[in-house]
């Protein structure tokens, strides 16, 4: 214990503590700081009146608490904010929903609206698989080219997005190539792969490969390898490969085919957004007319 005394130099009282001859001045907190502190306390009272603040035991009110005299909640704020953007979109959306694709394409404003909405929804939902620019990856189709598994018209793209591929929906697009590992011998698979490659490379193919292909593969992929979109059978003649175009990759796909899944987006996105997406994807480069 040391006694409280005044510092000689500044004339301020010390706290009475001393360490190796160093004493601590007992200056009061700055007055402006105290003032701000008091103001925040007073401010909080106003806050309690206006906003939901105090929890209660009654279970009434917003999440069981006082509601504030304005009735503000984060949910009403969200609803207002959504209503505001919907009102701004409504100028386009009503016409957009009613118009055919041809009419949308002919109307610069509507077409720009579709592309802008589609581009933003694409980044949030599609880019993770199909790439930011729609270039895809192995097993996830490139959307920039004109090779379509299930069709490249706006309507076909819209249906694919809406119901997905091998997704959990009754109307989903579905195809399943059988696994040929147990049906063909290894050298037969090799011959078929050579024949499949010959469609796009103009190489000489083994006749046995052609025979086997015509028997087993042509029903879906067509005799000339151009595929069948109705069944979702890929075009094998265009040098665009879904799971890789090396001979080994083609053989692997004949033995035990991979079957990709695309979710049905109708549970997550509105019909209008899906249509915007379809028009956006259609515009990337390979969009087809009827």
């Amino acid at each position: 214990m040391s006694k409280i005394d005044k510092d000689e130099h500044s004339g301020v009282e010390t706290t009475g503590h001393e360490w190796d001859g160093i004493k601590e001045l007992n200056n009061p907190a700055p007055r402006w700081w105290l003032g701000v502190f008091v103001i925040t306390v007073i401010w909080s009272i106003g806050y309690w009146v206006v906003y939901p603040a105090w929890p209660t035991l009654s279970g009434d009110g917003e999440r069981g608490g006082t509601t504030g005299n304005t009735g503000w909640t984060q949910y009403s704020q969200l609803a207002e904010s959504q209503a505001e953007i919907m009102a701004r979109r409504a100028a386009y959306l009503d016409r957009f929903d009613a118009a055919t694709f041809e009419a949308i394409q002919a109307d610069n404003g509507l077409y720009a609206f579709a592309l802008a909405g589609g581009a933003s929804a694409f980044k949030d939902n599609c880019a993770t698989c199909h790439g930011t620019g729609g270039a895809g990856a192995s097993g996830y189709p490139n959307l920039n080219d004109d090779d379509w598994l299930w069709g490249g018209t706006v309507d076909a793209i819209e249906e694919t997005i809406k119901f997905g591929i091998r997704a959990n929906h009754d109307e989903t697009r579905f195809s399943e190539m059988p696994a040929f590992a147990d049906i063909f011998a290894e050298d037969e698979i090799s011959d078929i792969a050579d024949y499949v490659l010959s469609f796009s490379t103009n190489t000489i193919y083994p006749t046995r490969g052609k025979t086997l292909y015509d028997e087993q593969c042509s029903l879906c992929h067509a005799e000339d390898g151009t595929g069948d979109r109705f069944q979702g059978a890929p075009n094998l003649s265009d040098a665009i490969w879904f799971y890789g175009g090396k001979k080994g990759e083609i053989e692997a796909q004949i033995r035990r085919p991979k079957h990709g899944v695309m979710p049905n987006w109708n549970v997550r996105l509105s019909d209008s957004t899906i249509r915007q997406l379809a028009i956006y994807v259609h515009s990337l480069g390979g969009g087809e007319t009827e």
Partner: protein
């Protein structure tokens, strides 16, 4: 007034009493209303406890520290609802112990990631994220495919969760390991029991495509159920009425 403070500082028992009083005031006001959980949890249909496999997946999620970069809470803000879907409800994390709301998003929010991508995508993305999203900075987790999932003790996890209020039944606990293996295969004989205990909506399939049941199976099963339980089409926000779910 300042000098009277000295009396408190110099008497440890008096100091202790005043500290307890001060902290209690704040604590009681914040905590006591939560004892009545029905005032904080919205009534929404469809929420069920995690299946044993999903729970094993959540354990992997926690062990790998996924919460460090991914939140599981969609806030009631327009841009979040536009991007991720319906804002998160308290009911949707009421069986999470600990909850996985997170506090930072380096990667995207995962509260509604269930069903957004295919199983194959999740597996490939976990093994090598940059092969699918070149601009991603997520680390790779290839070991999850190799590590065989330890399910022998998963029933103990259910017991622990029941102790903190998750309504697991004795039957769920005794058949936990069996249910977990059943969910990780498409054609198990025990699937009926799984659906009976956890509902028809449970997704059972070979999540990682491999023959063994790996940690990847569990993690993908967990990710694929996130945000899919609540029947949000029937949910109406009503701030004035709260009742037990």
């Amino acid at each position: 007034m300042y000098s009277k403070h000295a009396a408190l500082e110099k008497n440890s028992i008096l100091m202790l009493i005043f500290v307890v009083i001060t902290i209690s005031i704040g604590g009681i006001i914040e905590i006591v209303p939560l004892f009545r959980m029905e005032t904080t949890i919205e009534p929404v249909k469809g929420i069920r406890p995690y299946t044993p496999l999903e729970l094993a997946g959540q354990n992997v999620y926690i062990r790998e520290g996924c919460y460090g970069c991914h939140s599981q809470q969609i806030r009631a803000l327009r841009d979040e609802v536009e991007r991720y879907g319906h804002y998160s409800l308290a009911a949707e994390s009421m069986y999470d112990h600990p909850f996985q709301w997170g506090s930072k998003r380096t990667g995207p929010d995962l509260a509604r990631v269930g069903g957004k991508y295919s199983d194959e995508w999740h597996v490939q993305h976990m093994i090598n994220p940059q092969s699918l999203v070149p601009e991603s900075i997520m680390p790779s987790y290839p070991h999850l495919s190799r590590r065989v999932l330890n399910l022998a003790d998963i029933g103990d996890d259910l017991i622990a969760l029941r102790a903190v209020g998750v309504p697991y039944t004795d039957e769920m606990i005794s058949s936990a390991t069996q249910d977990a293996y059943a969910q990780a295969s498409q054609d198990s004989d025990y699937l009926d029991g799984l659906f009976e205990r956890y509902g028809e909506k449970v997704v059972a399939r070979n999540f990682d495509g491999e023959t063994h049941t790996s940690e990847m199976d569990a993690l993908v099963a967990y990710l694929q159920v996130l945000g899919t339980m609540a029947e949000l089409q029937d949910y109406k926000h009503d701030g004035s009425k709260r009742s037990g779910q």
